[in-house]
Amino acid sequence: MTEGQPGARPWPAPGHDLAPLLARVARGDQAAFATVYDHSAAQVFGLVRRVVRDPAQSEEVTQEVMLEVWRTASRFDPHRGSAMTWLMTMAHRRAVDRVRSGLAAAQREARAAVAVTDYDVVAEEVETRLDAQRVRRCLDSLTELQRESVTLAYYGGYTYREVAGLLGVAVGTVKTRMRDGLIRLRDCLGGGS
């Protein structure tokens, strides 16, 4: 890890470090779980909805994610990253699983059309956030191919091979752009704090 500051990321309510709460959740504390829900559900739902699109399915996936938090809180290791990253990693993975499953197959075409243009919407939402300008500037600092590779994969739920097809570039190029893009994003955001 380049930083050992769990919770020091641009998540909402930065004063709320979820890690100690998760430790209580792991011991079956339902009140602590409700607090974790209240401090993370909007992030989870927002991300899931962006990837899954369909509101009803997004609610289902959000429910799955939050229950996974409940069931697996004992697995959270604060030394390996922040609580929010742990949680959002699960949320993103479940959202992606959902769009790759047959259930959402019908919506794939539609997503292809909107995934790239969504960047503007994302950027707008970023504006409303505390670290908005920094995140925006960092996204802007990526090359176009890096940014498209990263956003198609992350918000579109596409595999890197599919992204290569959508962008009409070599698979190896996409892999490299994804990694370089994330490294640039990481360094850009880590550098200012």
């Binding site: 559900a41 909007a42 429910q63 922040s82 992204v163 892999k175 994003l185």
Partner: protein, 251 residues
């Protein structure tokens, strides 16, 4: 299959973005299991990808909260990962350091232990387990045996194995976590190493997120040890390399 010869490192970005297909992801995680630097890089790229998640907070409708809290109240939680136990104090001994707490598994009903071992280690294989009822029942029988004993061993180069065995059933259930990745074309093979001879006991299943699904080993005799060696993917008749892990079974 095509990515075998490529430098796995280049997949770190796609991995952090969940942009790998399932087989690619399994393969990459196998690579991660044996590469500390890669794990660190993957972790930091995950944090970076997490920034993308931060940009779109939308409160879910209130009924989602009600459902989640109600469902949580009646959902059993997973115990901490056994992997942690493997990396913990008892596993710190040198070489074949093994722990045999001999938890006489007389817990109220085998379901608890099934949940403990399978649920604890293999939440991601539940679906396939459901499809394999017979396999499941055999496992449950072993875990349920009055003389069932659970033990763990740490592999020399990292990772480890957990075994639940029953002499009554002459069988054991073997699971592993975070064993070092093997080169392409190789798999781990399981052996029963007895006082008189060594028998091949099957190939270890491919790991999923670093862990292997429960494997049933039958024909276990008194005095046997369980060994794991790296072998050609097709398996060997006799071990061709030094065991990466040995586990002494209780007599």
């Amino acid at each position: 299959m095509k990515i075998r010869r490529e430098i796995p490192h280049t997949l770190a970005g796609a991995y952090a973005l969940d942009a790998l297909t399932e087989p690619d992801r399994v393969r990459f995680e196998r690579h991660l299991a044996g590469c500390e630097a890669c794990r660190q890089e993957a972790g930091s790229l995950r944090e970076a990808a997490g920034l993308l998640a931060a940009v779109s907070a939308v409160p879910p409708p209130p009924h989602v909260r009600e459902r989640v809290l109600a469902e949580a109240a009646r959902t059993r939680q997973q115990p901490p990962l056994t992997v942690d136990a493997l990396a913990g104090p008892g596993a710190g001994r040198r070489g074949f350091g093994w722990r045999a707490p001999r938890m006489a598994v007389a817990l109220a009903g085998g379901c608890i232990l099934v949940a403990l071992v399978l649920g604890g280690l293999f939440i991601h294989t539940q679906r396939s387990l459901n499809l394999e009822q017979a396999h499941n029942r055999t496992i449950a029988t072993i875990l349920n045996a009055p003389d069932a004993t659970i033990m763990s061993a740490k592999a020399v180069a990292g990772g480890g194995a957990t075994v639940v065995m029953s002499h009554r059933d002459h069988a054991l259930v073997l699971t592993t976590a975070m064993l070092p990745a093997l080169p392409a074309g190789q798999r781990y093979q399981v052996w029963l190493m007895g006082p008189r001879r060594t028998r091949a006991a099957g190939m270890l299943p491919a790991p999923h997120r670093g862990m292997t699904a429960p494997m049933i080993v039958s024909g276990v005799a008194a005095g046997d040890m369980v060994g794991l060696t790296a072998e050609p993917a097709s398996g060997s008749a006799v071990p061709s390399s030094v065991p990466v892990l040995m586990l002494v079974l209780p007599s």
